[in-house]
Amino acid sequence: MASVTMTVNGKSVTATIDPRMLLSSFLREHLRLTGTHVGCDTSQCGACVVHVDGRAIKSCTALAISLDGAQVTTIEGLAADGHLHPMQEAFREHHGLQCGFCTPGMIMSAVDIVNRKGAMLDEHTIREELEGNICRCTGYHNIVKAVAAGAQAMAATKVAAE
């Protein structure tokens, strides 16, 4: 057993864990943040994507112990003051989900795409960038629409905040 301290959704957490514990298990089983899903557990599907130090990673393919001192944001950390994050709102508005299992990872990846590539995303870019996220229901069409709209909404929210 070993000790790890990280900041998850703005709160500092310290725990003594088995070094084998994956970040996904740490979030779900230790912190009870079950919004982060485990789909394939083989780094293919992207349902487990969270942000670590501002970058999207697959939490099923990172050891929690290795992320000592990291800042982690999960799907639970996106909404603020009782309002959905613009990307979450866009997925709702554009019906970018059916069963919803992949949605937390899709949204975390989508926010990361906007952080890296800006708000003006064409369809090709979105589809390429969503390479590491798999959805078995939607056929992706509405997800792509939601990401494009969410990206613009994120930019508009940023402007409004300034």
Partner: protein
Amino acid sequence: MYAFNYQRPKTVRQAAGLLAKAGGDGKLLAGGQTLLPTMKQRLASPAMLIDLNQVDGMSGIELKGRNLHIGAMTKHADVANSHVVKTAIPGLAALAEGIGDPAVRNRGTIGGSIANNDPAADYPAACLGLGATIVTNKRKIPADEFFTGMFDTALEEGEIVTKVIFPVPQKAAYEKFPNPASRYAMVGVFVGKKGSDVRVAVTGAGANGVFRLPEFEAALKTRFNAKSLDGLSVPADGLNGDIHASPEYRAHLIGVMAKRAVSKALGK
């Protein structure tokens, strides 16, 4: 995943000491994008896992004269997005941008990729195609001597890759035909031209991992143009065959990818 003894050294020297102490039972953890899935499947079960993520000075990108230095712990995403890499060796930045998917690129490292020497990995082709030098805690190893076979390298026990030095070429490009599911290269060809020297390196195809194509190199030295490769072929002997592609298909793809890479290097 089987239990292991976890260590988090702060320096390369400490890491090397731990690795030596572990004997053959120690593994270094860099980005973990291959090692952790392998451990989860119980295909690897190191007794000691030595995490390099808190070791200082192992990542970063720097142009020194006509050489590009990339720290072993530098993430694929950082190579892909680096202004320095995009300016000095755009083909290398493009290669990094094509590895795995965005989340994998945010964790995976260049040092981890080459030390693993997966026969379908992208970076080994760049190292061989650019004539890179692999720097370890003990010595400098030319890429030509580093990749010794499938999942095998010249690294000795207790040896840790600390950085990779790429000579800046005049022209270079990488083309790969990715497996549609895994995105690993079914065939990837890296072409580099520096002065009168031309290198052509192939990944994804060889049963013994990455290799060079002397015949293609000779033809391109005469004239660096895709047409120079007309009529040249690669024997299927010694190439991988699996459910995705036969050795013959891969042999054909090598020619196609090589031509595309040359055209891309020429900006066509």
